[in-house]
Every structure is written in structure tokens, then in C-alpha cells.
Amino acid sequence: MAKPVLFVTRRLPPSIEAQAARDFSARLTPSDVPIADVLAGAAGADAILCCPGDAMDAALIAALPDSVKVIGTFSVGYDHVDLDAARSRGIRVCNTPDVLSVATAECAMLLILAAARRAGEGERMVRSGAWQGWAPTQLLGTQVSGRRLGIFGMGRIGRELARMARGFEMEVHYRDVARLPPELEHDAIFHDNDDSFLPMCEVLSLNAPGGAGTRHWLTGGRIAKLPRGAVVVNAARGSLVDDQALVAALREGHVAAAGLDVYNNEPHLDPAYLGLENVVLLPHLGSATRETRDAMGRIVLAGIAAVLAGQAPRNLVG
């Protein structure tokens, strides 16, 4: 039997492209393609493997050839795929759940440490050759270990971060819609309201999903309730933050430092961040480890293969 045809919209890690070529009749894309080419690439294909940034909207899905039975996305989020449009055409959608949690939590912990310890500033000074020597008062940062960490959104990533933070003897507080059961909560302290939560957050990590319910959650009003000198990190969604308010607090010093992996309007982030020394900025690479991207590739390819074999894999969405 001929292998099913898989159209891949983007360049993927080599090991995943190799697996795709082995298990499918794969149409690989050596570089990133404009979204207009998707229809051409998908002609006669049984499956499409897309990425965040590929707008698989209703119009595009309506225009897909009848041969397409499944769309896999190389991401845990699927807000770029119109699930209703896919359902109406009988196209299944699968994603890469769970496998990003550890890498993203590592990214959040990196941002906490790098922001608190002024890593970007120190790096720029040393790399430029401007280092004049050691001094007891140079680049003094904020100690992370032993501090209070507030986690907004205690899902899988938040809980992984809490586990890492315990190695730093941090006291973990969390804010979420519901309290966790004890076996997931461990010794983290639940807050059912912002007013009790925010003053505890010497370090605040945003780990909640995006969407309308959390849009611009971190307002100037909430920032004002953080202790002075707090460190704020976001490895979740840029939409959680009111950028103007955060920039103002970073300039004024109420927030000592911030670490951001995600932004409103990526990649066109608020340029005000670029002028600040007390921020560490990453280009949305929370899941960017070889191991994680390989795991993402394996799980989404397995999901696509299962759908084409008439099965219902665990990573179906919608």
C-alpha cells in the first residue's frame, strides 16, 4: 500500500523530517513558506502538518482539497486553526500536548534568575570589553533563593515551575480559579483573590492560558499591589500583560526587572522594551530544546498516522 501523503508547511528538526519521510510520502518544505502556498502544497495530500503562525482559518480550510483528512499542528496551542471549519469538513485536528511543560517551566526559571541577577546587563558589559573590574557594588541583583514566588495559573507548567523553585527554597504561592488537590499542590499556598496574592509575589510568574478571560490581566493596578522591587516573568502568552503599565513600572523601579518570552502582537513587540536594561527578552522559544521539539514532532506525527489509520489518538483537539 502506498504511504499516505503528508504536506509539511515548515522546516522541522532534522530527526522529525527524517521520521516524516520514513512514515509518509512527505512533502517537506526546506524553508518557511507564505501561507498562500498551503493550498498548492496540500493538493492530493492526506494530511497537513502546520505550525503556529500558519493561519488555518475558515476560508483556507474550506478551500482544502477533499483528500485532506487531518491537520496536525506542531504546537500545544491551536488558536491558529479554525476547529469549527475543520469539523464541518470532517477534518480532524491534533496537537502536541504535555510535552512542552518542562521546557517552558525551565524557560520561566531561566527568566526569573536572569532578570533578578541582571544577566543581560552583565553580558553586554563583558562582551563589549567595558568591564573595568570586580567591585562589591557592581551589578547588584536580587537574590532568588528563599524568596516568595507567585504563580498565576497553576496548570502543568506552573506546577513544574513550582517543583524547580523548591530547589531554591522558594515559598510558592499560586492564584488560579480552583484549588489543587493536595497531591498536586504540595506545599504551595492557594489564593482565591488577587488582593491577597499580589502582595506575596516578590517574584511573579505568569503561567495562565491566553484568551479573553486573562487579557491584559497584569494591569497597572495589579502591578501596584506587588511588593516594590518585584521581578515579573512571562513565558505564557503576551496577551496577559498590559505592556504600557509594565514598561512604566520597570522605568520607575516598582518592578525591578522582567523576563519575557512572549509579547502582544509578536513579533512586533512594544519597542519600549528594547530600550530597557532591566529586561531579559526571548523570542518565544519556551519550548525550544532539541528534546522537546523532537517529542512534539513524534507526538503530532503519531496522531496524524493514527487518524489516517482510522483511530482516535489521545492528542485530538476539538
Binding site: 527568566l111 562582551r127 537574590q143 513587540l269
Partner: protein, 323 residues
């Protein structure tokens, strides 16, 4: 009458305030820390009983010979003391103290920051952002290596090494270590001891250096040691630059044998080897492992406590030798 002190380095306002309150102190006014001739002149003119300094003041045998007889205690606001000729001080009857204990957590935090930043390419990413990020990053591009669940070898399992091991366990890392002797189980906490440093290296996805400097450890991490690490390993050094053969490290970073390195210390400081600055796969920091307000206050206070103890004819809290 208050004891007389020369505070030979710039320090935090809290430490300066305490030095002024409790001592008759000459305070370094900057812009740089005092040099040996400046500190010697200040101690002589002030008939100082004690000197508080940092690793910016190289107290060689000659420097110690030049100090006035009034000096009874030299307190370095650092845990390392390879900038002091301890034997020469001892021979002159001058006590030398350091500040162990108070900077362990802070330095271990910094080591884990460098490990994460090197493995996850944090600073390289920050440079991309500051250059404007106007291009798509493919799913296979610019990937880092995962930290969680990997094996980390610790060279030097003293207080800082053990504090670092606690953080590594929060990432489910398997901890291996080499030191002069095996730790008792309550300090080892399940870490695997290697009496032979080279025998440990093939098992280290990460290697973090926490051993003291000095001749005994000079260039311990040389080309041979680096060649024994698995392909794609990550090196972190927050201890002393003297432990590393920097030519060998540069070669391993350039060839890609090492995935990345995070360095807080260098053989020559601040005139470190600028060839490192040309590499994207290093994270550089200017010897700031203990640079938090909380810790620098604690270090300065501890040095003042040591000086006060010696001058009050009590035992030093952190003597570098015991009679």
C-alpha cells in the same frame, strides 16, 4: 575607643554605615578599590588595627611585609582567598578571615542561571530581540538543550557545590561529584561520588565547577578533561578562572564539542580573553556570583564581625587556620 579600620574596597551603603558606626574607619572613596600602596599608606597613616578588602587587593608576601605592625587582622569580603598569601600573614602574626557560608545560596543561584542560560541560549536570544527579531525562527532553529532529567557533574562539593546540587535536584538532575574525599550520606544526598575526576566526565551532560582556585586545581579542566565529556556537554564556572585551560575551552566551544558554556570567572579579570566575546555559545558575566544586595551586605557584615572578634581578643569566626 573604637578600633581603627581601613575599608579598602567599595561596598554597600549598609556595610559602610556599620563600619562608620562601630569603627574609627577610613573608607575607600573610589572610584576604584584601593591598590596595595593605597591600602598600605592608609593603614600606616591611620595606625589601622584591621583591613577589610575584597579580591581586588592582591596581598602577596611583599604586600603583607609592607603592612604596619598595628594591623592584626585582614578580613576579605569573599569566600575565596587566593589573592592573599596566607602563610606570610600567619608568619607575621596577622589573622586572615574570609566569609564562607553567607554567599552559598546566591552563588549557587548564579551557577544555575548560567547553566540554564547556556543550555537554553537565553542571552543569545536576548541579543536577537535587541537587534529587532524581524525574521521567522523555524521549529528546528536555534534549539537549546533540555536541562531537566540530565546528569550534572559537580567539581568541588563544598558548601556552594552542595547548594547547587539542591537546585539541580529540583530539575530532576542526577548529581555526580568529584572532590578530595567522599561526603557523609547526609551531605551527599544521593549524589554519586567519583574519586577520579576523569572517570566522572563521560557521565556529565553538564559540568559545574565549584572547587577552590590555587596551584592544586590549576587547569584541572584542560583539553583532556573536555575531551572526556560527552559530545554537546555544557560547562559552567562560577568558582575560579584558574581551574580552566581557556585555550582548550575556546577550541571545544568553537568546534561544537561543547554545546555551550556559562562563565562568571576568568583567568585574567577584568582583562579576560576577548576571544570568548566573539562566540555566541557562551554566556558571560563579570564575576558577580555573589552580587545581590542581600548577600553583599551579609558578606561585609561578616567581615566586620570577624575583625571585631579578633580585635576584642575573641576567636575569629572564619579564621583561615586554627592554632
Amino acid at each position: 575607643m573604637k578600633p581603627r579600620l581601613v575599608l579598602a574596597c567599595l561596598t554597600t551603603t549598609n556595610v559602610v554605615a556599620r563600619a562608620r558606626a562601630e569603627f574609627d574607619a577610613i573608607i575607600c572613596s573610589g572610584p576604584d578599590d584601593m591598590t596595595v600602596p593605597e591600602a598600605t599608606a592608609a593603614a600606616t597613616a591611620h595606625r589601622a588595627d584591621g583591613i577589610l578588602f575584597a579580591n581586588t587587593l592582591p596581598l602577596t608576601e611583599a604586600a603583607i611585609a609592607g603592612l604596619p605592625d598595628s594591623v592584626r587582622v585582614l578580613a576579605t569580603s569573599s569566600v575565596g582567598y587566593d589573592h592573599v598569601d596566607v602563610a606570610a600573614a600567619r608568619a607575621r602574626g596577622i589573622m586572615v578571615t574570609n566569609t564562607p557560608g553567607v554567599l552559598d545560596e546566591c552563588t549557587a543561584d548564579h551557577a544555575m542561571m548560567l547553566l540554564l542560560a547556556a543550555a537554553r541560549r537565553g542571552i543569545e536570544y536576548d541579543r536577537i530581540m535587541r537587534q529587532g527579531w524581524r525574521y521567522r525562527i523555524g521549529q528546528g532553529d536555534l534549539l537549546g538543550v533540555r536541562v531537566t532529567g540530565k546528569r550534572v557533574g559537580i567539581l568541588g562539593m563544598g558548601r556552594i557545590g552542595r547548594a547547587f546540587a539542591r537546585r539541580a535536584r529540583g530539575f530532576d538532575m542526577q548529581v555526580l561529584y568529584h572532590g578530595r574525599s567522599r561526603l557523609p550520606p547526609e551531605l551527599e544526598q544521593g549524589a554519586t561520588y567519583f574519586a577520579d575526576f576523569h572517570a566522572m566526565l563521560p557521565h556529565c551532560d553538564f559540568l559545574s565547577i565549584h572547587a577552590p582556585g590555587g596551584p592544586a586545581t590549576d587547569r584541572m579542566v584542560d583539553a583532556r578533561a573536555l575531551s572526556l565529556l560527552p559530545e554537546g556537554a555544557v560547562l559552567v564556572n562560577v568558582a575560579r578562572g584558574s581551574l580552566v585551560d581557556e585555550d582548550a575551552l575556546l577550541a571545544a566551544l568553537r568546534s561544537g564539542r561543547l554545546f555551550a558554556a556559562g562563565l562568571d570567572v576568568f583567568r585574567d579579570e577584568p582583562d579576560f580573553d576577548l576571544r570568548f566575546a566573539a562566540l555566541d555559545n557562551v554566556v558571560l558575566s563579570p564575576h558577580i556570583g555573589s552580587a545581590t544586595r542581600e548577600t553583599r551586605d551579609a558578606m561585609g557584615f561578616r567581615a566586620l564581625d570577624n575583625i571585631a572578634a579578633v580585635l576584642a581578643n575573641r576567636p575569629a569566626i572564619d579564621p583561615l587556620w586554627r592554632d
